[in-house]
């Protein structure tokens, strides 16, 4: 068998790799349920769509940590609770206890935090850090593969520059995880990646273990303007929709071919094994969406266009996880809540283009008030440093309208809700025992403009400390640059 496989690398049999998910990386030792088509795998992972998630694997390792108890702070848990005079214990990289009067483990480092606030680490569900790195020179413009309206084949993670100084600034703003997306020039912009916001030598060292990938899709002005301007499709919104539909038809066809091959391969005798289809990276991504493995992250401003995208999704049997920017989400907040589609937006941005002209400060709160999943995102290297303030502005706008939004609600917009929308809520995003110890200690009420992140913990390790320069990471790019030595 091995000999055969090396002669034709794609041909490693079903029997060999059956049940590889339960073994150590599919070396083929375990043989279970030999005739199951789902277990048919190719030897060369790069040729096999089913092995997509094993490519460019995370090498993230939590930084060293000690058992820590933050005592006496006001806790916003991200689960809808506000706990006064609370304690949170971080042990072995996990949150082990949260609440009032929680015992502090012997030997723990105790942080007295009376008058201070604690929240889950903030999560930005829409960032271009790393793919549009600072300095924003053309040489760093790696976020938009503006060469074809369908670039579902590209992966944002292949563009991420871990030395982007924006990561460290976001960290000082309390951001512990983020989703980095390709830009919105194309109908299908490519795959997104979820990162832990730690200083690292490689993208893989930042890659959030076990987080699903997303597919960036874009509605509206951007794709049609760009390609229409080049005299090709799409030049209109109807051209956009035709582009989506064609791609989904192709993807379903592609998926069918692989399914058929796996079935035939499993059933065939050794001497009659059929050749596998050729892997197509773009269709592979789309097929991943149809299988429910890749989350659709859909850039879309106008309410009527979001409704259109819902019908496209119904037509081809996939789910939209979140609409991004969604300036007009408030116009169909009832529909989005019913469909359980999150809305990632700003409080302040509007009017920069026609499809954002109806953007209002009340948008996040109105989506929330209808029972929807509001996410405050940045899409910006400056706003990402103050997601808490953007949430404050959005909360204030809602309360001005009489929507009675509490801090315990609004903190979810930058913690639990983005965690849900990027598929990591089971791991982070709230202060709950068992979750990753991604935690921010704030100097004051995080909805105050004067609050700063004093300490930021990632997997229980101090990733940032405002009072201790040893925990203020500096990128290679900034090292030794003028002005840095006298910086406070």
């Amino acid at each position: 068998m091995r000999q055969f496989a090396s002669a034709a690398p794609w041909l490693l049999s079903a029997a060999l790799l059956a049940g590889c998910a339960s073994t150590d990386g599919g070396k083929g030792e375990a043989v279970k349920g030999g005739g199951d088509p789902a277990s048919v795998r190719l030897a060369a992972k790069g040729l096999d769509p089913a092995a997509s998630s094993e490519s460019f694997p995370s090498t993230y390792r939590p930084m060293p940590s000690v058992t820590t108890a933050i005592v006496g702070a006001r806790l916003l848990t991200g689960t809808g609770e506000e706990i006064e005079d609370g304690t949170i214990v971080l042990e072995g990289g996990r949150i082990t206890a949260v609440g009032r009067g929680v015992p502090v483990p012997a030997g723990a480092t105790v942080i007295e935090a009376r008058g201070k606030w604690v929240t889950p680490g903030l999560i930005d569900a829409h960032s271009h850090l790393g793919v549009y790195a600072s300095p924003s020179v053309a040489a760093h413009s790696d976020g938009n593969e503006m060469t074809d309206p369908n670039t579902a084949n590209v992966w944002a993670e292949h563009s991420v520059w871990p030395q982007d100084p924006g990561f460290t600034r976001a960290l000082a703003g309390g951001v512990t995880s983020l989703q980095v997306l390709p830009g919105s020039a194309n109908l299908f912009g490519g795959r997104t990646v979820v990162l832990k916001n730690v200083p690292a030598r490689t993208m893989q060292d930042m890659k959030f273990p076990g987080a699903p990938q997303g597919l960036k899709m874009a509605c509206g002005e951007n794709p049609k303007r760009l390609y229409g301007g080049k005299g090709r499709s799409p030049a209109t919104r109807m051209g956009n929709v035709a582009g989506y539909r064609k791609a989904w038809i192709d993807a379903a066809d592609y998926q069918r071919k692989w399914d058929e091959w796996r079935k035939k391969y499993a059933a065939a005798t050794d001497d009659k094994k059929p050749d596998p289809p050729k892997r197509d990276l773009a269709l592979d991504t789309l097929a991943g969406v149809l299988r429910g493995e890749i989350l659709v992250q859909n850039h879309c401003y106008r309410a009527d266009e979001m409704a259109m995208m819902l019908d496209v999704a119904r037509e081809f049997g996939y789910r939209i996880t979140m609409f991004h920017h969604a300036s007009e989400a408030y116009k169909i907040a009832d529909v989005l809540a019913r469909e359980d589609i999150c809305v990632a937006t700003w409080a302040e941005w509007w009017g920069f283009k026609m499809e954002a002209f109806d953007g209002i400060e009340e948008n996040p709160a109105l989506v929330h008030a209808k029972g929807g999943c509001t996410v405050i995102h940045s899409d910006d290297e400056t706003i990402i440093q103050r997601l808490n303030q953007e949430a404050a502005t959005a909360m204030a706008a809602g309360n001005r309208l009489g929507l009675n939004i509490t801090r315990a609600d609004a903190i979810k917009w930058v913690t639990a809700n983005p965690a849900k929308a990027i598929g990591v809520l089971d791991k982070t995003g709230t202060l709950e025992a068992g979750k990753m110890a991604d935690v921010v200690l704030w100097s004051a009420d995080p909805f105050s403009v004067y609050a700063v992140a004093e300490k930021v913990f990632i997997d229980g390790a101090v990733a940032y400390d405002r009072a201790d320069r040893r925990f203020q990471p500096q990128t290679d790019f900034e090292l030794g640059q003028p002005g840095k030595e006298s910086r406070r």
């Binding site: 907040a333 302040e348 941005w349 009017g351 283009k353 209002i360 001005r400 909805f447 403009v449």
Partner: protein, 433 residues
């Protein structure tokens, strides 16, 4: 119909609150930050009469017939100033036809004047005003990403000041500053390197000086040949005569030094815009008495000329004695961020009072309307905001806003959209709401 009745009817028809500028109003029971010599008044009254501030203090007699606005312990500040903004000359950023801030061409560069583009009906104005802004310094610019435009443009053009009050004529003064981009962007517009753009600026000022002395001879062709157009030369006269400041977009410390040197050598007034590395040469800026318009959120090495950008720029410049002005966002849509930006500067070391000065009296003085607005002093035009808390906090909201003595409606197109879609699903199409 009498003229007044006609105006009233028009106001009713268009749904615009009819301004009552002549109204006498007493705003009582307020914590007043005057930003003037009276300082902070813990609990006092502001009296507005004929559009002006008649009295501000702890013991102000309220005249019979005055309308009393009880601030209920709220905070009263002067109306805020949006310095360096596209407010009133921009509507939708990506639609160039709706924008009038970027229009300089090669032969109308210094002569480009934003005053002609001011639109009193811009939907951005009520949005900004609801952020507490009552005055603005409207500045032209040269956008780098508009390739179809001519490259060689030395000046972006002339700035104007406006009020955000009632009436069709918002212009307070035109020609309040001449905007020029230096550093990387400026080099990109002229020649390609700093050596070109600085030299071109000096040459233009030299021509302006020569022209100012030989204006009468120009029409007879009895002057030396000028590279600049007549219109640009005219526009530069107040600059070379020291009456109109150059508003210089500049970032790198070394470039700031060059600008200070140019100001000395060419005897022109300058105001620095952006100046991310200003803190590195803060004492020199202070010594030259040059004011700086800063965005306190700029802390990224976005370009090689902003490697030293820090959140503490505003605080350190202030500490060194520089007059600072805090801007919201150049983009008029986000001008309302000015108060949050001031708050963030406080979070990074700027004293609170200095932050409020940087968005009220400082810009008013630097841009030539300090005698009219920017502080709550008797005799000044009555621009004030009643807040339900600390005005620099995002959770704080304005309760009442007065511009030139007129209480402005707490409404905007954006607020109307929010109300229209508040209750869903609609029982009838929202268009009927």
């Amino acid at each position: 119909m009498s003229p007044i009745a006609r105006i009233l009817a028009l106001a009713l028809m268009t749904g615009i609150a009819f301004p009552a500028a002549a109204e006498t109003v007493a705003v009582t029971n307020a914590r007043i930050h005057t930003m003037g010599p009276a300082g902070e008044i813990g609990r006092g009254t502001v009296l507005i009469r004929d559009g002006k501030l008649a009295a501000v203090g702890a013991d102000v007699a309220i005249p019979a017939g005055a309308r009393v606005v009880d601030a209920a312990g709220g905070v009263v500040t002067p109306g805020l100033v949006a310095a360096d903004t596209t407010l009133s000359v921009a509507e939708v950023n990506s639609l160039h036809a709706t924008n009038d801030h970027d229009g300089a061409v090669e032969h109308l560069s210094a002569a480009f004047d934003v005053k002609y583009g001011i639109n009193p009906n811009s939907t951005l104005i009520p949005v900004a005003r609801l952020g507490g802004i009552t005055r603005a310094v409207v500045t032209p610019d040269i956008e780098e990403d508009r390739d179809e435009r001519p490259k060689e443009r030395l000046f972006a053009g002339q700035a104007a000041t406006i009020h955000l009050g009632p009436g069709e004529d918002l212009l307070m003064a035109s020609g309040v500053g001449m905007v020029v981009h230096l550093g990387e962007a400026g080099a990109g517009m002229v020649g390609g390197a700093r050596g070109t753009s600085f030299a071109a600026l000096k040459a233009a000022l030299d021509e302006g000086r020569h022209y100012a002395l030989n204006r009468a001879r120009y029409d007879y062709g009895h002057t030396r040949p000028y590279r600049l157009s007549r219109e640009d030369l005219e526009a530069l006269v107040p600059v070379v005569e020291g009456r109109m400041p150059l508003l210089v977009h500049v970032h790198r410390a070394a470039d700031i030094r060059q600008v200070l040197k140019l100001a000395r050598e060419d005897q022109v007034k300058v105001v620095l815009l952006d100046a991310e590395e200003g803190w590195m040469v803060a004492s020199e800026i202070a010594k030259a008495r040059v004011p700086v318009v800063v965005n306190p959120l700029s802390n990224l090495p976005a370009r090689f000329e902003t490697l030293g950008a820090t959140l503490e720029n505003a605080a350190r410049l202030h500490e060194a004695g520089v007059t600072i002005i805090i801007e919201g966002s150049r983009t008029g849509h986000f001008a309302r961020q000015v108060r949050y930006n001031a708050g963030n500067a406080v979070a990074h070391g700027l004293p609170w009072k200095a932050a409020l000065e940087a968005i009220t009296i400082n810009p008013a003085r630097v841009f030539g309307f300090g005698a009219r607005a920017g502080s709550l002093e008797p005799g000044k035009e009555a621009d004030l905001v009643v807040w339900d808390g600390d005005p620099l906090e995002p959770l704080t909201q304005p309760r009442q806003i007065f511009v030139k003595g007129t209480e402005m409606p707490m409404d905007s197109r954006a607020r109307q959209l929010a109300k229209r879609y508040r209750d869903l699903p609609p029982d009838q199409p929202p268009a009927y709401r």
